[in-house]
């Protein structure tokens, strides 16, 4: 596709003079005297835009990319009026791309390498392209879409990217990977063998569709060099207009006839209108810094804190979401009224709550589209108190099995196994005598309490045993963090490496059920035997490694016996595997245990 040049300008980039050019597919920057651009960015990578103030000494434009969040800064070099005009042109065009990119990303259509469609829309108000990609009602559950993705991604590059992201998200795994795979001890595919679930989880996570951000537009001042500022980006302006149409109205009526754009924003953020639009109720506290403003105050409306919301609720409220409906459950039946949820109890919060509601509704509309969605239609059609109304498709388990009913035939033995297993015969005592005895003990309680004494010897013995109990536990507690980090790391590295080798060793000896069904060819057998031998070789060095750490312990002022004790379970497991391997070899080419007999 031939590219159309949308605008050009003279601009420096990294202190070098050159030409900045925007086409319908890329933005490029070519240094002076060169033909080929040294910077070429596809338009669908544009994430956001920052501009220097109008009238500032330098006319700058900073473009932030999805792939490069630090962004590129260009300074327009033509004389001020020209440079500003050039910059404005770039700003307008790029803002379009940014807004389009956001919509595309929000609806999950990540831009591919295909060239972008030519820029045709220039107005902000154009509705975001609604494509019929919304899940059909009651349609495919998420799992199936993942499955299809998986089968499609047979290519290695995607796999590699996926693995890389899994490793990035899990530092421990990355460490293990670095120590085992990068040193060539085990291969990449061996490493991922048995960790497929991590990859599929990552893939599933990445395939989740992101909707529009639910955040309310609420520009917050930042402190820059001791000055309190609100940074206005073209994207922010767009968002504010969308969220608060009244601001857009004010803008179109006053700029540039009465105010410049800059003045407009400066006064807006100091106006009552801005504070009325804030996403919190602390605006009352800042009331005194707010100035009266003849222009903006015209657009103020009374706080929406009346008994009824200013904007009437459209249509009937569904029973299942109507908080007012539960009020009927109280009163007559004697139940106590709901004290936690009283609509409008805090008057100051009402405008905010209503604004949140309006915001949510707008959000919902942007996700479901304006027309009656399948879900809404379903809700509206059935006016009956149908429980299906509150059923969520996503929560249904399509693969649920019946399960196996637990039918305990031998519950006595089951519970006995958990109780003290002392099967000693109970001492025979006379039951009536026992009852009699106990009751008689109650008679003289006052006398025995008056003459109450404790055997001194027993008391001291009890005290001594309890003190030693506390002391020993205290020692354990205080010593717990004694192992220095360096040694601790060596120990855990040794342990995780040994575990990994063990995993691979036993994996090759007893393949998991999924692989057990494979036809057992001679090659496969040999492969497995070779892998087992290789892993056994690695395992054999574990003892040496542990001994080295034990020897190093005194230098870190750690009792070597503690290290030994800590590493013993690993060594036990390693020794078990090694003994197993020795026997296999001694028996000479054992029949693979997988062979069905």
């Amino acid at each position: 596709m031939p590219s159309t040049v949308l605008c050009t300008g003279k601009a420096t980039y990294k202190k070098q003079n050159g030409t900045l050019q925007l086409t319908n597919s890329h933005i490029t920057w070519t240094p002076d005297g060169k033909v080929a651009p040294s910077l070429k960015i596809p338009n669908m990578d544009h994430s956001s835009l920052l501009c220097s103030k109008v009238g500032a000494a330098q006319v700058k434009l900073k473009l932030v990319l999805y792939s490069f969040s630090e962004g590129h800064t260009f300074t327009f070099t033509n004389p001020a009026p020209v440079a500003t005009a050039e910059r404005e042109q770039f700003k307008n065009e790029i803002t379009n791309y940014i807004s389009r990119n956001r919509t595309a990303r929000a609806s999950g259509q990540l831009p591919t390498d295909a060239p972008a469609t030519p820029a045709t829309t220039n107005n902000f108000a154009a509705p975001p392209p609604r494509t019929p990609t919304i899940r059909p009602p009651g349609g495919t559950p998420r799992a199936s879409s993942i499955a299809s993705d998986k089968s499609g991604s047979g290519n290695d590059v995607a796999d590699y990217q996926l693995r890389k992201r899994v490793l990035l998200n899990s530092p421990e795994l990355a460490t293990l990977h670095r120590e085992l795979v990068m040193t060539g001890q085990i291969t990449e595919s061996e490493f991922w063998d048995g960790r497929e679930h991590l990859l599929s989880a990552q893939a599933a996570m990445e395939n989740q569709k992101k909707g529009k951000s639910g955040q309310l537009v609420d520009p917050r001042p930042q402190t820059v060099d001791g000055e309190i500022k609100i940074v206005i980006t073209p994207q922010l302006v767009h968002d504010i207009f969308e969220e608060y149409p009244v601001v857009g109205k004010a803008y179109s009526e006053n700029v540039p006839s009465k105010l410049t754009s800059e003045e407009f924003w400066k006064r807006y953020f100091e106006s009552k209108l801005f504070h009325a639009n804030r996403a919190s109720i602390r605006s009352s506290a800042t009331q005194h810094v707010v100035k009266a403003d003849p222009i903006f105050d015209q657009y103020l409306v009374k706080d929406d804190d009346g008994l009824e919301p200013r904007k009437p609720v459209a249509g009937d409220v569904e029973m299942f979401v109507d908080l007012g409906a539960t009020a009927e459950d109280h009163g007559e039946t004697g139940n106590q009224g709901d004290t936690t949820m009283q609509a409008g109890r805090q008057k100051a919060a009402l405008p905010l709550i209503r604004r949140f509601n309006e915001h949510s509704e707008r959000l919902l509309k942007s996700a479901l589209g304006d027309g009656p969605s399948a879900k809404r239609r379903r809700l509206n059609d059935s006016n009956s108190m149908d429980v299906s109304q509150i059923e969520l498709d996503d929560l249904k388990d399509s693969q649920a099995s019946e399960g196996i009913a637990l039918d305990m035939k031998n519950s006595q033995r089951y519970f006995e196994s958990r109780a003290t297993s002392e099967g000693d015969t109970p001492v025979q005592v006379s039951v009536p005598q026992a009852f009699n005895e106990l009751e008689s003990c109650l008679g003289g309680w006052e006398r025995s309490l008056t003459h109450f004494t404790i055997d001194k010897k027993a008391m001291e013995a009890g005290l001594a045993s309890m003190t030693s109990n506390v002391k020993s536990r205290l020692e354990v507690k205080t010593k717990r963090k004694e192992i220095p980090e360096n040694l601790m790391r060596q120990m855990s590295t040794c342990q995780t490496a040994a575990n990994e080798f063990l995993r691979h060793y036993w994996h090759s000896i007893y393949p998991p059920p999924s692989q057990a069904s494979l036809p057992l060819t001679e090659t496969l057998k040999n492969q497995r035997a070779a892998k087992a031998a290789k892993m056994a070789g690695y395992l054999a060095s574990t003892r040496e490694k542990v001994e080295a750490i034990v020897k190093a312990a005194p230098y870190e002022k750690v009792d070597p016996r503690r290290v030994e004790l800590a590493m013993r379970p690993v060594l036990d497991a390693v020794n078990k595997a090694l003994a197993f391997q020795r026997n296999r070899i001694a028996r000479g080419g054992t029949p693979n245990p997988q062979t069905p007999r």
Binding site: V429, E439, Y510, A573, N583
Partner: protein
């Protein structure tokens, strides 16, 4: 830190066990009336410890459980026991002591001298104690202002147990433990007589309480005061004695052997020392393939090392669901 606290005491009043406990053939005999004296001194200490401290006493009697005493009841003239004033004793002490003993003897009057003894209703008493605390923690709204909730009574339950574990109470006890955990109730246990109770060890362990086996039985009060008088919040500063280790090792159901590696039924969680085709507890049949695989791993490792213990097929993190590794948790406390 030093808040008021609530203590619910559960008394195990199993007559035959108390008879055995008092037998002079014991190395440290403890009769019920001596026990009662120690207990009353302890209960009085709890009341004296802080004016706002509250107390409830529950009894686990043969075949029934009930509330013997509660601070709430004692404060209400319509329910309180009538106690003769005694110039020689502190009135609150006297009220607790006399109400408790009177109620116990009233119950034993009703029980009479039966020929057989029903099992003691420990579960009932425990459940009642938990419900009672739940009510304390969630007072009716009309009765309390919100500020009261900041002054929650740091609840705990102390079980003074003499009976051995009753196998059929395992599930209800576990359920009670979970409820207690949810309500942040600490369960303390003093095993006053008889063999260690596995159930109650778990109850104490899982609720962060302390389990004490009464060794020098004549010094009961010493144990009670040292281990159970400090409130849970104070125990963050004062370490109280408890059991050194709780035994989590599993024994197979078939031979009661303690096993390192066992085979667990995926339906009912019964443990076996070797793979079995059918679970003898719940009659679930296992797939032949799995069985073959498990048997093969066993056979090769047994012939290999000559070990008498069954061995893991894969003793690392890729553990198949059908195996259990025991004896690990014991070291972690």
């Amino acid at each position: 830190m030093d808040r008021s606290s609530h203590l619910s005491v559960i008394l195990d009043l199993c007559p035959t066990q108390w008879l055995l406990s008092a037998q002079p053939s014991n190395p440290h005999p403890l009769s019920f009336d001596t026990f009662l004296s120690h207990l009353l001194v302890f209960l009085n200490s709890h009341i004296a410890y802080k004016h706002e401290n509250s107390l409830a006493i529950f009894g686990a009697l043969p075949g029934k459980s009930l509330l013997f005493y509660s601070s709430e009841e004692a404060g209400d003239p319509s329910t309180a026991e009538v106690v003769q004033p005694d110039p020689n004793s502190y009135r609150f002490f006297k009220t607790v002591d006399q109400s408790l003993v009177r109620r116990i003897s009233r119950e034993f009057d009703i029980l009479g001298q039966p020929d057989t003894e029903e099992p003691c209703a420990l579960v009932g008493a425990l459940t009642k104690a938990i419900c009672y605390i739940n009510r304390l923690l969630h007072p009716a709204q009309s009765l309390s202002s919100p500020e009261d909730s900041a002054n929650l009574p740091d609840p705990r339950i102390l079980i003074l147990s003499v009976s051995p574990d009753a196998s059929n109470s395992y599930i209800p006890i576990m359920n009670s433990i979970f409820s207690a955990q949810k309500l942040k109730i600490t369960i303390d246990v003093c095993k006053t007589f008889g063999p260690d109770s596995v159930f109650l060890q778990q109850a104490a362990y899982l609720t962060g309480g302390s389990y004490i086996y009464l060794e020098h039985r004549e010094a009961l009060l010493q144990y009670l005061v040292m281990s159970f008088l400090p409130t849970p919040s104070i125990r963050k500063i004062i370490t109280v004695p408890t059991e050194d280790k709780t035994d989590f090792r599993a024994a197979c159901f078939c031979h009661k052997h303690v096993v390192d590696v066992g085979y667990v039924c995926s339906v009912c969680l019964s443990i076996f020392c070797q793979p079995v085709p059918v679970c003898s507890t719940c009659r679930t049949k296992f797939p032949m393939k799995t069985l073959q695989r498990l048997n093969m791993t066993r056979a090769s490792s047994l012939t290999g090392t000559g070990a008498s213990q069954p061995s893991a097929s894969r003793p690392t993190n890729g553990t198949p669901a059908k195996q259990v590794y025991t004896g690990l948790a014991a070291n972690l406390r």
